[in-house]
Amino acid sequence: MNKTTIHIATLFITMLLLQTLIFNHVVLFHVAVPVVFIYFIIRMSTGLSQNVLLTLSFLLGLCVDIFSDTPGVNALCCTILAGVKKSVFYLYVQRDDNNKDIIPSISRLGILDYSKYLLTMTAIYCVLTFSVEYFSLASFKDIVIAAVSSTILSFILMLGLDSLIITPRAKRL
């Protein structure tokens, strides 16, 4: 078992436990729900095989679903988020050999690019998950309010979480 596998497994379990034991029970102003476990998908290395990323994301979503009693909701959204991850990442980061295999973080991308990437990913996930949960355009206003507030809350939490995680000093892009 190499270092990368251990790193992925640790992050997977940590995020799952954090979400299910703590953040699933937090609802701010009756609308904002923190979705921190997607940090696992966001933080995955860009060099990781897309099939592995999709599988891990699906499994993570499924595990969260099992604990949250929302079968399929998070699994579907995590799979879609993993599907668009690379495209979103390369929206803000130049596509070249230097960043082919990097772990997205503040220290690697810089606060501005990383924030844009993190915010986009969080927004996509929140819009997706609330759309699937409400599953009706009649609740459009509720979806927007819940998605925007949850995106802001989750973004702040994940930004804090990223600064807590010690990343080996690497050359900034």
Partner: protein
Amino acid sequence: MRHLINFLIRYSTWFVFAFYVVVSCILLFKNNSYQQSIYLTSANAVSSSIYGVRSDITSYIGLRTVNEELQARNADLTDEVLKLRQELKKYQGIVGDTADDKSDARFDYILATVLNNSTRHPRNYFSIDKGYKDGVHPGMGVVDHNGIIGIVNVAGAHTARVISVLNVTQPFSVKLMGTSYFGMLTWHGTDPSIAYVEEIPKHVRYKIGQKIITSGNSTAFPEGISVGTVMGQVRTDNDNFVTLKVRLSSDFSNLSNVRVIKDILKGELDNLAKYDNRDMKNKSNKD
């Protein structure tokens, strides 16, 4: 095979992605009653709208059959109305002894479709898709759902030519509805919706909008079939008769399904007419 494997490997990400999305959707819709109910409601709405479109198309395609069925039913009902009218007359003593048992089923109808039609010429004819093999013979009247439209001129095996009401050479015996005053319906060759009833006695009172119907004097048409409505009077040179301007009931520019009227007593009546002719000839020879 190698190409297939290469294809699968090349697009494996998409397959994996689609697989997980499908599994997630199955989990979502199978285990969440809310999403399931919305999915079923939306699916029902979509399927019902698709079925609605299909129904509209098939019903439109089936209109021809429906129309033919309605025409047949209409013919039966018209026949029944005529029978009942004759029954009524019999009991009122108007027809009296002349109405024998055969008069109950005097007229029969043959359904036909107009093949070609013209309204532009002074002498207009149209063709129908029934001929003598279907029982159509010259002299038979032709009507559509609005009223009279012509009289059969020539009958082929499977088609027949009909002299239209819009033919300046062909008069039709008609009368004012509710009276027993007869006149001759003629067309003057201009407006296909207007004809004229000539030889109506001057003292006859009529109303604008009063119906003109067939007189029943010929074997071509039974009495009471609609011809048109009175629009007014036209100036004539004859002091004893008036000519009425009539708006025709039938739309001659749009003829499609028609009925040919078959008079079962036509043979008998024609034979009687032959005797009349022979007597007249003998008389003239003697003179």
